[in-house]
């Protein structure tokens, strides 16, 4: 069976779960162990990628450059990647990241808006980077639409296209339908990024691989937005048993999980009522902590906020809608707000 490329996002998606508060030293500690374990690529930075540090998404503990500097210093074989969401991050931000050895950029757009990433993919290719198109909230579009958008990324020069289940809302059949179609029509590798809000992250990742994905994401301890990502240690164990090759040392990951990452976590990475509501409603995973905060401030139920955000078809990055929805819910309950 084939070789599967592993991209670890503990130090990017995982930042959502710790409100973007890891220090550069903590990141370097994790990165060194991931490198030692043989992980192909690691993604680093604010949960919302380059330029994500903001009131809207929360400020990082340190500037982006300090994370890249600390991490790149400890990597020997593993490639360093960043996430760039057009509209939040810019080519200027990417240029600065390149000074610290960034080799790969994942350009992430909403599943219907790939053309907003054209300039970034083209810039990356022109400057010798690996460019990956990353279609977020892929559950919101039917397979044919996902294919159309994946083709756009391919036409801009992307080396790989990812189908991304940002809301952890897909069932295995949804994953299979999308990956299979895109796999048939594109000539570049296909990737899959899972979230565990419905408890399906590992199962969906396996379904994606069986449908033709050759690059998949995971995070140590599952650390990530919402109920987290595919838990990397478990994923590697599953892939080993299923006969795929990843080049990753399972024991070393287990040790990293127990000795380092567990100690960095702010709370257990589990499926609870709120995270389940995200997957059930199909809302963006990183809305979780922001919704809890707004729920407390305006005296409403975080689950109601998340379900309403799903109904309104909000997309990734619309954290400011949480305030609107919370205020409206409070008003409809008859509470006096602000």
């Amino acid at each position: 069976m084939g070789k599967i490329r592993i991209i670890d996002s503990t130090l990017r998606d995982g930042m959502h779960a710790v409100s973007h508060q890891l220090t550069p030293e903590q990141m370097a500690m994790v990165a060194a162990k991931l490198d030692e374990a043989g992980v192909d690529t690691i993604e680093v930075g604010h949960g919302d990628g380059l330029g994500g540090s903001s009131f809207q998404y929360g400020f990082t503990k340190c500037p982006d450059a300090e994370y890249f500097k600390a991490v790149s210093a400890v990597l020997t074989k593993t490639k360093l990647a960043v996430l760039l969401i057009p509209g939040i991050g810019t080519v200027e931000d990417l240029e600065r990241a390149m000074e610290y050895g960034v080799k790969t950029v994942r350009v992430a757009t909403h599943v219907t808006e790939a053309d907003a990433g054209e300039q970034h993919i083209k810039f990356a290719k022109k400057n010798g980077l690996e460019a990956i198109g990353f279609l977020m909230m892929s559950h919101m579009a039917p397979p044919e639409k996902v294919l159309e958008q994946a083709k756009l990324f391919e036409s801009y020069g992307a080396d790989t296209v990812y189908i991304t289940d940002s809301a952890g809302a897909m069932l295995p059949a949804d994953v299979t339908a999308r990956i299979k179609l895109v796999r048939q029509e594109l000539s570049i590798p296909i990737g899959f990024h899972a979230h565990n809000n419905l408890g399906l992250a590992i199962g969906n990742t396996l379904a994606a691989i069986q449908a033709g994905a050759t690059s998949v994401d995971g995070t140590v301890c599952g650390l990530g937005a919402g109920a987290g990502n595919s838990q990397l240690e478990a994923l590697i164990a599953v892939l080993n048993k299923a006969g795929y090759t990843t080049g990753v040392d399972l024991y070393k990951l287990m040790d990293l999980s127990r000795d380092v990452v567990e100690g960095l976590m702010h709370r257990p990475q589990v499926i609870n009522g709120d995270t389940l509501a995200i997957g059930y409603a199909g809302a963006y995973g990183s809305f979780l902590l922001h919704s809890r905060r707004a729920a407390e401030k305006f005296g409403v139920d975080a689950r109601d906020i998340l379900l309403e955000l799903g109904r309104r078809k909000t997309v990734g990055g619309q954290e400011d809608m949480i305030i609107d929805v919370a205020i409206e819910l409070a008003k409809s309950k008859g509470s006096k707000v602000i």
Binding site: S54, P86, A116, E118, T314, G317, I327
Partner: protein
Amino acid sequence: MKQQKLRVAIIGPGNIGIDLMMKIRRSKVLELVLMAGIVAGSEGLKMAAEFGVATTIKGVDGVIEFGNLDVVFDATGAGPHTKHAPLLKAAGIFAVDLTPAAIGPYIIPVVNMDSQLLTADNVNMVTCGGQATVPIVYAINQVTPVAYAEIVATLSSLSAGPGTRQNIDEFTQTTRNALIKVGGAQEGKAIIILNPADPPIMMRNTIYTRCDATKIDEIIKSVEEMVTKVQRYAPGYRLKVPPYADGERVVTVVEVEGAGDYLPKYSGNLDIITSAAVTVAERYAELKNGGAI
């Protein structure tokens, strides 16, 4: 004495150009005499011809040849405007630039209109996000210094054309610069989000400002006054969430519904920049007719 109308041309007969045309046709001080494009038979050129406006497919060259013009609205793109600007300047034509080229200074009608009109021969309309949010930052900065202003503009996907998409970095950078240079914030950041929901959403803008939030009552008053001023040219501009203090920050949300002239009402983002551009040109006409320019 009846004031003479200024003679106006538009370069770029796309969505923005057509919307500008509809607005200029209602103006008491501007007369649209030329629509310039580069593609024969395009929708905008056809509409202009139907309205009895002269057309050319020779772009800026057609404009210069046409002659006897006071104001040109440039609704093309950053690259083209960089070439147009010196030609218009040499011909003595005042340029209102709706592209991200920003050759001339940023102009926001309710903040710095007269001071720019009296000194510049080319003004830049910033971005739709800038037109919607800089007035709020400026209003707050009048009460208490804004150390950092961050705005999030969410647009319906249908209202964000290829120009916005291909120049999304220019949008965030130009908006950020205007928050600082015109709004008065010490630092700034702009975020843009495209939302494909159907029916399309209204343009909404969240404005976060780091400032002395204890002055919230004065801030609310200042912002409400500012919103009323913006509504004079953009009637669909509304305070969705009045300023409220949240720790070290003040949060304000404004929504913009378009006038529905040519573009649908959800395209408030386009409407606020075309409305502001026409307002700028009308004020230029007043100042010129009054002998100030």
